[in-house]
């Protein structure tokens, strides 16, 4: 994982002319932070999907808590539908 991040960072470094307009020198750290924020978003999205895939495969083996949550959730939905 660490190796992958290093490769990505080095590739970014070697990219000629990043698409940012004129900034004051201090903004370099802001660009980096926006990259971090984007990375965090990607990690969150990937994490969510990973969790979904994982729960899809593990559903058959251990239907306990997740299933209970889903049941509750679908009950609420049905109730909402009826009310409306």
């Amino acid at each position: 994982m660490k190796y992958c991040i290093k490769v990505v960072v080095i590739v970014i470094m070697l990219m000629p002319g990043m698409a940012f307009a004129y900034i004051d020198p201090g903004s370099a750290s802001l660009i980096l932070q926006s990259l971090l924020a984007a990375l965090a978003t990607i990690v969150t999205i990937v994490g969510t999907y990973y969790h979904k895939i994982k729960s899809f495969f593990s559903k058959k083996k251990e239907p306990s808590e997740n299933a209970a949550e889903k049941l509750e959730y679908s009950d609420e939905k049905e109730r909402d539908k009826k009310e409306s």
Partner: protein, 473 residues
């Protein structure tokens, strides 16, 4: 009626308030723009908590009416000795850096943040860092960026890395530049092995590279001759959790940094144990210093050429309340501070080249005070010190003595004669240009400005201890 208060000359950047010197008191005005944050800090009880936990310098709301623009006036505890990052050794700088990160993390937990990251906002009480700038604390806005990242890099991180990666002390460069060590300058000397460190890549290499790139691009688009339109980099929120992770990873990295030359031996690192000192001399000196300090019980004693702090610690045990040590050697000030920290002594050691002390500098040469403006010692000791100025730096003996005497009303000076092995070594490869460097001359110069209280000639050596009291003029 003459004004009894004035705005501190170093306090002009922050529009939300000023530091005000009023006699011996330190006040601070809180202006309208910072009033809400300050009020919520007080009302929530956080201000009290910050002070009680030792994060923030003691602060009380004062009922003074001295600045019409101010919504509040607060009074701060007076710090005994104000020091600047270019006078700190690696140990103090690292401690201040970790303190800054910890304080920032603590504030974030409480919904507050720091508006800047300047090392000048941290001072030391003994060896304990403390935050002094109340108005840097403000409410955290969800999704905001860490605007002080570059300032943190230049004022804390790069100076530490300079020593840790290259083995070069930060002090002289920091003092020259005042606001830390420029990132883009340091980037030019980063060794190849650092390109394999993620922390180095993110905080130093990438930041410097983007900065250089943006500077080169310029403000005007050469193709269209128009001013480049700034695209906001802060449109998307910077999640708080990422900021906390960033600060924590910086903390982890910095806590692992050590001086590259830590294991090397320097001129003075074993001075105390290996020099011409023998037990007998040390015993005589210890008795002399103990009785001198016990008699005076000074609030603040300065130890010039403090070495590993042996006589400083002895002075504390003998009745001095605070001791400030100075030395030219980076390693001895670090080891003295480490030992003081372990034992909880009210001691702090700073880097000082006595022949080139800190000047008044910054905006209009008044932003940072000079070494001599900050002298507040009640007593001074200079043991085996003067030959380093009078012989090694060619400074006339009378000037050296008068400089030491000017520091405090009372003091002790140890004279080391030409036949002493250390002085002999200093002179071995050079012409002896110092015909006036002798004990008789030393005593007669000292007697011009001071009354000699006690004199002890150390037997079988060329050393003499003299305690003095400055004559009233």
């Amino acid at each position: 009626m003459s004004r009894i208060w004035e705005i501190d000359k170093g306090s002009f950047r922050d529009p939300s308030g000023n530091v005000i010197n009023s006699g011996h008191r330190i006040l601070r005005s809180v202006k309208k723009s910072a009033a809400d944050d300050f009020k919520s800090l007080v009302d929530s009880g956080l201000l009290h908590k910050l002070i009680d936990s030792g994060w923030l310098v003691d602060t009380k709301v004062a009922n003074e009416d001295i600045e019409t623009e101010a919504e509040y006036i607060v009074e701060h505890q007076v710090i005994d000795h104000i020091s600047y990052p270019y006078e700190w050794g690696f140990f103090f700088l690292k401690r201040a850096t970790l303190f800054h990160l910890d304080f920032h993390l603590f504030l974030l937990e409480k919904g507050y943040t720091l508006s800047d990251a300047t090392a000048y906002n941290i001072q030391f009480i003994g060896t304990k860092p403390i935050f002094i700038d109340l108005l840097s604390i403000r409410k955290y806005k969800e999704g905001e960026y860490w605007l002080a990242h570059r300032q943190f890099t230049e004022q804390f991180l790069v100076p530490l890395l300079l020593r840790s990666v290259k083995g070069v002390a930060h002090n002289n460069w920091y003092r020259g530049n005042l606001e830390g060590i420029p990132l883009t300058d340091f980037y030019k000397m980063v060794p190849m092995k650092c390109f394999l460190s993620l922390n180095m890549i993110f905080h130093i290499i990438l930041q410097a590279k983007i900065q250089n790139h943006e500077i080169k691009k310029g403000a005007i688009n050469s193709a269209t001759s128009k001013v480049r339109i700034k695209r906001s980099h802060v449109e998307k929120p910077f999640p708080k959790i990422v900021l906390i992770k960033l600060l924590k990873s910086l903390r982890k990295w910095i806590s692992s940094l050590e001086p590259l030359d830590k294991t090397d031996r320097t001129v003075w690192s074993n001075y105390g144990s290996e020099n011409t000192y023998i037990d007998q001399i040390q015993k005589i000196k210890s008795v002399f210093i103990s009785s001198f300090v016990a008699e005076l019980e000074p609030n603040t004693l300065w130890d010039l050429g403090c070495n590993g702090g042996f006589y400083s610690f002895l002075s504390l045990k003998s009745g001095a309340k605070n001791v400030v040590g100075f030395d030219f050697d980076q390693k001895v000030i670090d080891s003295a501070n480490e030992e003081a920290s372990r034992n909880g002594y009210m001691f702090q050691a700073f880097y000082l080249d006595a022949a080139n002390e800190s000047p008044a500098q910054g905006w209009r040469s008044a932003e940072r005070k000079s070494f001599s403006e900050r002298i507040n010692a009640n007593a001074v000791i200079a043991l085996a010190f003067i030959h380093h100025l009078a012989i090694a730096k060619n400074i006339p003996l009378d000037q050296v003595i008068n400089w030491i005497v000017s520091m405090a009303p009372n003091g002790v000076i140890e004279f080391v004669g030409k036949e002493d092995p250390t002085v002999k070594k200093m002179l071995q490869n050079r012409t002896d240009l110092f015909p006036n460097y002798n004990l008789e001359n030393f005593i007669s110069i000292l007697e011009m400005s001071s009354n000699i209280i006690q004199r002890v000639d150390i037997p079988d050596s060329e050393r003499c201890l003299v305690s003095f009291q400055k004559k009233c003029r």
